[in-house]
Symmetry: C2
Subunit: 213 residues, 2 copies
Amino acid sequence: MDRLNVGILLFDGVEVLDFCGPFEVFSRTRLEPGTASRQSDESAPFRVFTVAREKVEGTFDKDDDVVPVTATGGLRVLPDTAFENTPVIDILVVPGGVGTRSLLNDRLTLDFIRWASGRARITCSVCTGSLLLAKAGLLDCRRATTHWSSLDLLATLGKNIKVQKNRRFVDDGLVTSAGVSAGIDMSLYVVERLCGSKIASDTARYMDYRQMP
Amino acid sequence: MDRLNVGILLFDGVEVLDFCGPFEVFSRTRLEPGTASRQSDESAPFRVFTVAREKVEGTFDKDDDVVPVTATGGLRVLPDTAFENTPVIDILVVPGGVGTRSLLNDRLTLDFIRWASGRARITCSVCTGSLLLAKAGLLDCRRATTHWSSLDLLATLGKNIKVQKNRRFVDDGLVTSAGVSAGIDMSLYVVERLCGSKIASDTARYMDYRQMP
């Protein structure tokens, strides 16, 4: 299996666990079980990076002039690449957070999501990240979910979005998850789809995580 | 209730979810339940910041020359303050990760942990963060836990540490948790201790998280 690129969108006001849950799952998955395999990237099926709208000069290896993203609660993260420099994204992860609201009218971000999703093998969202997928037109006529407080809003952001309640995640071509921590379960599900249940279970065990139904 | 300062230790090789789980829990807790209260810090009982050994010039408001920390998987985070500049820490959080191994012999880090813990109201660790607490001498004669792969190692790093297996977290004066995701449960437990079970449950519900026994 070729290593797949996982691109995680960052923006000001992104919810910390929304992007860190998937980052943890994808970056710590190994095809070789146990803990020793996690000392290196040798059996890593994924290469994980963060991507932001902010102008980033250079690439992964040159990080002068990178503008930090400020997540909810004030955590400051340096994105790995900007929209215009991103490598191929095989798995696009769109996290949520209060910062999604202003992005609902940000053409550049919505265009990027549409563009990257069109080339990605899997597009997924965590929490209110699905609002951005919806506004980009990607959830029309699909089943989808979001944070419990935004279920009604989600329905208004596209055509005939079949909003699902009380679901940890929903896979209807695009994979959307419920709130915050549900992004961990959603990511483990994507790992299972791509690498099988044994690998996904091994990642969950490494993380001391019991998947929620 | 006065707002309490939560200081989360960062270092190269810190496991992403080890520090992001507690960051999420403490930074998103509100004394006023629901989602609207989380649009501001008004009813926030905690002020969360990250602290690192790396030389940081200035304080929270001046972030020139801050040296980023590279977490496991390559996530780059800008710490808020350095050891020598840290404000009072009421709750000290020591996360784990592969980076703990080299810190077991880092006098400056162990001294900082001892110093900060001596002044803190609560000291807690996630995953292999307990190895650092042990090496700093803080777990002698106490019950404690860590990631399942490091239980035997933990026992060797202090005097008469009573290592507990199959526990999500252990409170014996200092609070230690099992691996990675268990830091979320440990943090919710600390919130419950300080703010009561209703507030902790509201935070868990906001995060769509079901606490693990």
